[in-house]
């Protein structure tokens, strides 16, 4: 072979071998298939009612026919512009039976109730349910999503898959599984055995606590907390009845004995224990786990990075100063009240009083 040709071929071959691994990069650079900024939703504000608001807008086209059904006491089937079937109930839930599968009790239409409605037991709603008035579900109902313009009462062992929002009160009987976002503009009451993830309402009553707002918790406005802090490198115990007017940060465990009062915030980097009747004016934060004893009062956010248990009678936040209680797993005893948000990323559960 001609040496010049051989050299040229060799150079060409080396060039090809060099370029081949870069081909995907060159193609992407040229075609810009993935040259968009990472999707940051600018208006995202973590609003728990986001989906219920969107569903309400979606349902607007059905409000007039739903009203007619309510007045005439009839039911109506149809399809939304996007093809989803709907069932409007104007008098009772009897029309549901014709929409339910014969072998499995599934309702695959969007269901809207125009009057106060009681659903039978054991139905699975695979699409959203809209209730213009009060809604009482049967036992073991499964809802994909549920919007109630008035009160919602979930029967024993019912399940919410994605979200539920009640403009009025939302009450869940024992052993309900409430996945996703559960909110009310008035109050939420979950009975013993209910599991949950994210709850938001002005007043959240867990177990058998009364969902009325106690007068002593109705203060409003900004709380002025101390800004000084005490750093402790080992375990710390705050004595029973002691009043501490400073923020406390411990590297070890923290034990606050019964009746103590902390006027600032508290942080421990290991397990934190609060005995009965402890009061904390600021936030309560554990980088590990946390146990809050009975009848405590916590004003600020309550955070445990690994898990939390709260005993009966404890109050977190108030109507005027709502707060957040959050941990991957939360175990709340009957009789606890939270004003604001309870958020268990993995699972929260209401357990019987010990």
């Amino acid at each position: 072979m001609n040496p010049a040709l051989a050299t040229a071929l060799l150079v060409l071959l080396v060039g090809i071998l060099f370029v081949v691994p870069l081909l995907p990069a060159l193609i992407e650079l040229r075609l810009k298939r993935d040259a968009y900024p990472l999707n940051v939703i600018q208006q995202y504000a973590g609003e728990i009612r986001h989906f219920s608001y969107g569903f309400r807008v979606y349902m607007e086209v059905l409000l007039e026919p739903l009203q007619k059904c309510a007045v005439s006491g009839t039911a109506l089937k149809g399809a939304m512009p996007d093809g989803d079937e709907y069932l409007l109930l104007g008098h009772s839930s009897a029309a549901l039976s014709s929409s339910i599968g014969k072998k499995t009790p599934n309702c695959s239409s969007i269901v809207a109730a125009g009057v106060d409605m009681v659903f039978p037991d054991g139905i699975t709603f695979t699409k959203e349910v809209y209730a213009a008035n009060k809604l009482v579900s049967g036992q073991r109902n499964i809802f994909q999503a549920l919007l109630g313009e008035n009160d919602i009462h979930l029967g024993r062992a019912s399940t919410i898959i994605r979200w539920a929002h009640a403009v009025g009160a939302l009450r869940a009987e024992p052993d309900c599984d409430l996945h996703g976002r559960i909110s009310s503009d008035l109050k939420i009451q979950l009975e013993s055995g209910c599991a949950f993830q994210r709850l938001n309402a002005p007043c959240i009553a867990l177990g058998n606590s009364k969902a009325e707002v106690p007068d002593d918790l109705a203060e409003t406005g900004e709380i002025s907390l101390p800004i000084g802090r005490r750093l402790v490198d080992e375990d710390l115990e705050i004595k029973a009845g002691e009043v501490v007017a400073i923020n406390i940060i411990t590297r070890g465990r923290l034990h606050i004995r019964a009746g103590a009062r902390v006027l600032g915030s508290v942080k421990s980097n290991q397990h934190m224990t609060l005995d009965a009747n402890v009061s904390v004016e600021g936030s309560l934060i554990s980088a590990s786990t946390m146990h809050i004893g009975p009848d405590c009062r916590i004003a600020g956010p309550v955070i445990a990075e690994h898990g939390m248990a709260i005993e009966t009678g404890t109050r977190c936040g108030s109507i005027g100063t709502p707060t957040t209680v959050t941990a991957p797993t939360i175990e709340i005893a009957d009789g606890v009240m939270v004003f604001g948000t309870v958020w268990a990323r993995t699972e929260g559960r209401v357990v019987p009083k010990r």
Binding site: I27, D34, S265
Partner: protein, 413 residues
């Protein structure tokens, strides 16, 4: 010459192991986001400082975004820190003040020392709230970002907060696409891994917050440094305050679109970072303070990242010289095996980190550009080495540090 080379290789190996450790932690470890779920609270009053120097192209966008933020209006005050602008920045800010009375209080600075830290330092006389957030003018905060950045301050141990920076002008050219990948690696993996491992997340000086009492305790903003954010990170750490990183608190920024601007930016970062290294390495490692052993070690390694560039260059030169001088320990066998092992794992560490970040972000095709990062790294190595050299020679040449504002590329306000 052999022993310095071995020393450099050992250092490179430490950073390689660090890259792998962070990436594996981010992929498989427990992820810490302790404050992100605080969505209901008695939100404290907050002051938002917007650093602006000749920002007529971008200032109205950030002010508009802040005015529509989901935060109680009566508890949020925006202070645009107009630092000696000679363009229409002042006029635009004043127009916003008229449109939103009581919600924006301008700070027009017409003289004084140059630089962001000096401007922030002067603006502090207007700040009366315990929580302060800081944005550069080219950032566009989303509706929920203010609450997300304020939430960590409910923790009394937290002195500083840092959010995630996301490039907006990704698709402009190769440089912006490479910077997008670098930012992803730096925040999605590096910063979050430090947060997970309770190490030293770095304060970035924008999309960030600081507690007023902590700032006062450490003596306020340091206007003698080119990177007030790095400086702040270490002074907070030495004073017993934590800086936390919020990976889900994302905010768009504009990245440099030309290589000269990028080189200028990274040279400023390198010089400022090295200033911090000189000032805080020894106190951090051996001083009497609350930082844990892991914070001391990670903080020290973080301080050294920009010095690694000239050391790598020196390592290359030494390796070449040794090769041509025929120096090959143990007949070259160990050298060859070590080189091969490092070539297959060591060089890949930073790429692995970025690839993991892109995967975590759910992006698909942009990972294809990974080979081009070699170009970005090469430019960075030479630019950072040049910055380090100029710092070393500064006592001889008499060169003084000055703060260069990063040029903006947006065409309209």
């Amino acid at each position: 010459m052999l022993y310095p080379l071995i020393g450099i290789i050992a250092l490179i190996l430490v950073y390689t192991a660090r890259h792998y450790f962070f990436t594996l932690n981010r992929l498989f470890g427990f992820q810490r986001h302790p404050y992100i779920d605080i969505d209901t609270a008695n939100w404290p009053k907050v002051t938002i400082l917007v650093a602006a120097h000749n920002e007529e192209k971008v200032i109205s966008q950030i002010l508009t975004a802040l005015m529509s933020a989901h935060y109680p209006q009566d508890r949020m005050l925006v202070i645009p820190v107009n630092d000696r602008s000679t363009d229409r920045t002042r006029e635009i800010i004043d127009r916003f003040c008229n449109d939103y009375p009581g919600r924006i209080r301008p700070f027009h600075r017409t003289s004084g020392k140059g630089g962001k830290a000096a401007a922030l330092k002067d603006a502090m006389k207007l700040v009366q709230t315990e929580v302060i957030l800081i944005f550069d003018a080219d950032y566009t905060p989303g509706g929920g970002l203010i609450r997300q950045l304020v939430a960590p301050f409910f923790d009394p141990e937290v002195g500083g907060v840092m959010g995630r920076v996301v490039p907006l002008n990704v698709g402009t050219n190769l440089l912006t696409r490479l910077l997008d990948l670098e930012r992803a690696g730096g925040y999605q993996v590096d910063q979050q891994a430090r947060m997970n491992l309770r190490l030293v997340p770095q304060h970035g000086g924008t999309v960030a917050g600081v507690r007023l009492s902590a700032l006062r305790q450490i003596g306020g903003w340091n206007d003698n440094t080119l990177t007030e954010d790095t400086d702040l990170t270490y002074r907070l750490l030495l004073a017993g305050w934590k800086t936390v990183y919020q990976n889900r608190s994302e905010c768009y920024e504009e990245v440099p679109e030309t290589w000269p601007v990028r080189i200028k930016q990274i040279m400023r970062w390198a010089k400022g970072h090295n200033q911090a290294m000189v000032a805080y390495s020894l106190p951090l490692l051996f001083g009497k303070h609350r930082a844990t052993l892991r914070e001391r070690l990670d903080g020290f390694l973080l301080l050294g990242v920009y010095v690694m560039a000239p050391l790598t260059l020196i390592g290359w030169i030494l390796a070449l010289v040794l090769f041509y001088e025929g120096v090959a320990p143990l007949h070259g066998v160990i050298a060859i095996l070590s080189f091969t092992a490092f070539a297959t794992t060591g060089n890949f560490a930073a790429f692995f980190e970025i690839a993991a970040a892109v995967r975590l972000d759910g992006s698909r095709q942009r990972i294809c550009l990974l080979p081009f990062l070699v170009l970005g790294f090469a430019v960075s190595i030479f630019a950072v080495s040049r910055a380090c050299l100029s710092q070393l020679l500064a006592p001889i040449t008499g060169a003084k540090f000055h703060w260069d504002k990063t040029e903006r590329f947006r065409t309209s306000s």
